[in-house]
Subunit: 451 residues, 2 copies
């Protein structure tokens, strides 16, 4: 039996029926032209033949005399047909039916008696497409690493017919951080624990660093419907926008793509909350994971991710004024970040990669006094169109983990010419989450028209 690291153990212990701790992804594919009516079924059959497993995909919580223990066992007898299943959409097989199914799949707990992952191959689309929904426990992998892992199953070559699966990828460079066993958060956190001494010390360090950023804010974060205890059921909604539209706004306003994405999100949150007569007077605050790599190239640590608190200026009616406030806030807090000690910066970095680490920090995640209202995370994606076994990836939507006090989150990624948004909310606390898609689109249109 391998002992579970302190961080992974916390992920396992924190999970309850109200707080499933898995990350997910929903990928939509256009089958190749020569695909017959049984293409998806045959693809599923081919997947089931991939019965060789990377150790991460064999890990399950150990039991001893029937009681669960904080240890990992390597499962020797994996029932692949349990982990990889087929599903179908009811008629007419459109967006609504897909999201109903994805919401249900994202709501259920993984079985702890088996390795902590599932893949669902979804057919029955009215337009002939198909989808993959994947989920993995956060104790195995973080969301960013999970996205990378799925991308490694794909290729830019439309003619390739290798069927790669995440549990049986060819080994690459031994120190490649894409390897599932070396998840970005896991290794960062493990390094940090030796620097900080313990999980509570790490939590204190991260909180102090975040509080220093809060000083640049006009107000502390208001309470909203997003900052409440949550139930077990989830609603996921997804939509893609052309990257070019966002780039045009960025160009005409002298902003970055990420600034415009934040302004879209801010406008959408404002519209969504106004519609429900629940917009707070004070501006909402987002936590935004940002890579400082380009600007910080000679720093050690490689791909340095930092947790920036951003004033979303949801109190301002003018979309352009909102965008300016967001740019200003991001700029100031990047400066604050640069002034932090290395340990503080690393503690915050680890935080942003882990929804769960946030739930450890009462000061960050207090329902009474949230330090921020929502996490908006732009995960780096692919610039070129990708193919999986000849099927073109139309969209890949990341799905993160809501928590008590963080009842919804927005995660997006680049996929070729599109930005793919995946928004996950507690189905009870945040009703009608699908409306946020309309408000996102309105917010982008407003920004296009404001110049």
């Amino acid at each position: 039996m391998e002992f579970v690291s302190p961080i992974d153990a916390l992920f396992l212990l924190a999970e309850s029926r109200e707080h499933p701790m898995h990350v997910g992804g929903l990928m939509l594919f256009e089958p190749p032209e020569d695909a017959g009516p049984d293409y998806v079924r045959r693809t599923h059959e081919r997947i089931l033949r991939e019965a060789s497993f990377h150790p991460t995909f064999r890990k399950r919580p150990a039991t001893w005399l029937g009681a669960p223990q904080i240890g990992w066992t390597q499962e020797s007898d994996i029932e692949l047909g349990y982990h990889v299943r087929r599903a179908a959409l009811p008629r007419p097989g459109g967006q609504q039916q897909l999201l109903d199914l994805a919401s249900r799949l994202h709501s259920t707990l993984l079985d702890r008696h088996r390795p902590l992952w599932e893949m669902h191959v979804i057919e029955g689309f009215g337009d002939g497409r198909f989808a993959l929904y994947t989920k993995m426990h956060h104790a195995l992998i973080d969301g960013v690493s999970g996205q990378r892992l799925m991308r490694r199953t794909m290729t830019e070559d439309a003619t390739a017919r290798d069927l790669l699966v995440p549990w049986n990828l060819p080994r690459t460079h031994p120190r490649n951080t894409d390897e599932p066993s070396g998840s970005t958060f896991g290794s960062a956190a493990r390094n940090l624990l030796s620097a900080a001494g313990s999980v509570p010390a790490l939590a204190r360090t991260a909180r102090d660093a975040l509080l220093r950023q809060q000083l640049t804010m006009p107000f502390s974060a208001p309470r909203t419907m997003f900052n409440v205890p949550i139930g077990g059921a989830r609603r996921v909604v997804v939509r893609s926008w052309p990257l070019e539209r966002v780039k045009q706004v960025a160009k005409s306003t002298g902003s970055t793509v990420n600034d415009v994405v934040l302004a879209m999100s801010a406008g959408a949150l404002r519209g969504f909350l106004r519609e429900r007569e629940a917009l707070p007077d004070k501006p909402m605050i987002a936590m935004v994971p940002v890579s400082l790599r380009d600007e910080d190239d000679n720093e050690p640590g490689g791909n340095k991710i930092c947790a920036i608190l951003c004033n979303l200026a949801t109190d301002l009616a003018d979309p352009f004024a909102r965008l300016e406030a967001i740019k200003d806030s991001m700029h100031r807090n990047k400066e604050v970040y640069r002034a932090l000690s290395n340990t503080q910066a690393m503690a915050l970095s680890a935080l942003t990669l882990s929804p769960f680490a946030m739930s450890l920090l009462p000061a960050l995640n207090s329902v009474a006094n949230p330090a921020f209202n929502i996490v908006i995370s732009n995960v780096s994606g692919a610039r070129e169109p990708l193919y999986w076994n000849g099927a073109r990836l139309d969209a890949g939507y990341p799905m993160s983990i809501p928590l008590d006090g963080q009842a919804a989150n927005i995660t997006l990624t680049t996929n070729g010419a599109n930005l793919d948004f995946g928004i996950v909310g507690c189905r009870r606390s945040v009703p009608h989450l699908d409306r946020i898609l309309i408000h996102l689109d309105n917010a982008l249109t407003e920004l296009e028209e404001s110049h």
Copy 2:
């Protein structure tokens, strides 16, 4: 806030991710001749308009300041679209795809933040049929009452087009035991608690009564693969047999239909375990709920159900000798039952209606020394064909609750000219459960040929 009764509280407290405590049912329907391609979708839309709820369907566990309490709340804001969902089978939409879906639906926990029930309307059958899968928490209703409730939504009139739903049935006679709030087990147990004084006293009484039956057995129950701790995932398998085939065997052997059903089950268990080289030398023991009403009409208590221990004689190779041993065992233990005190008999009656009550009794349910190996329950059903909104009920399969030490169970019911078997097992402890269907069929054929 209504306080939860001690019995219902135990159902709620005992539930964990490994032990979901809901009962289910899978009903297959043949749509009426005038049904178009969107019949199922329109039926779902009609169901969603039935937004009036019997109090049982509004009950959810209360929370107070975010912490779950042992109390019931009446939910005022029911999101019916959460409780009643559409699902579809992948191609080709056959038995395998249906059972894969039903297994997954029966494995997941109900959301405690909402009333504890779900209904899934399933389409995508290759043969044009559709299905309903329903689940309700055992704290609301027991399996027998759940079956009756669903039957009350149906009619023998093929031309009727009233769409009745279980949460909004017309009220009948106020003392009708079919009312969901007066579930058979619930009221029996409540009466008993006043007789026995407490749950542990009730448990002791039931155990003593069961031990007295054990004295008539040739051996105590052996350990089998069915008597082990269980995991969270379930496998359900179902199949129907013509009642006439069973009746013919009963007639030619001077047995009851229930004797033949037990002999089918015994033959199937023997075949299934032999195939896995896991047949114990000693005969397996079943717990069989039996109604003594007809034979006991002048007893008070009305529909008296008793828990008979039955020697399945799985050690005997000859199917006819097995049937004789089963008949003998059933006869002897009915006699023992009649000699029990009224309180003992009632305690055992309550037991048989509740998978959970069994889990309270270490002597009944010990993994090391099981008092019996499996529950085989023949629930009374309909003699005439039934219709729901013009769709003919082809089959209605009950689905019960596996427990630690009782990793599978067999429940069956009469539906017109058929006997419908629903078998639920722990997916991990009892692999290849679908094989038991073949062995059930073989066992019936053997009994037909042995005369």
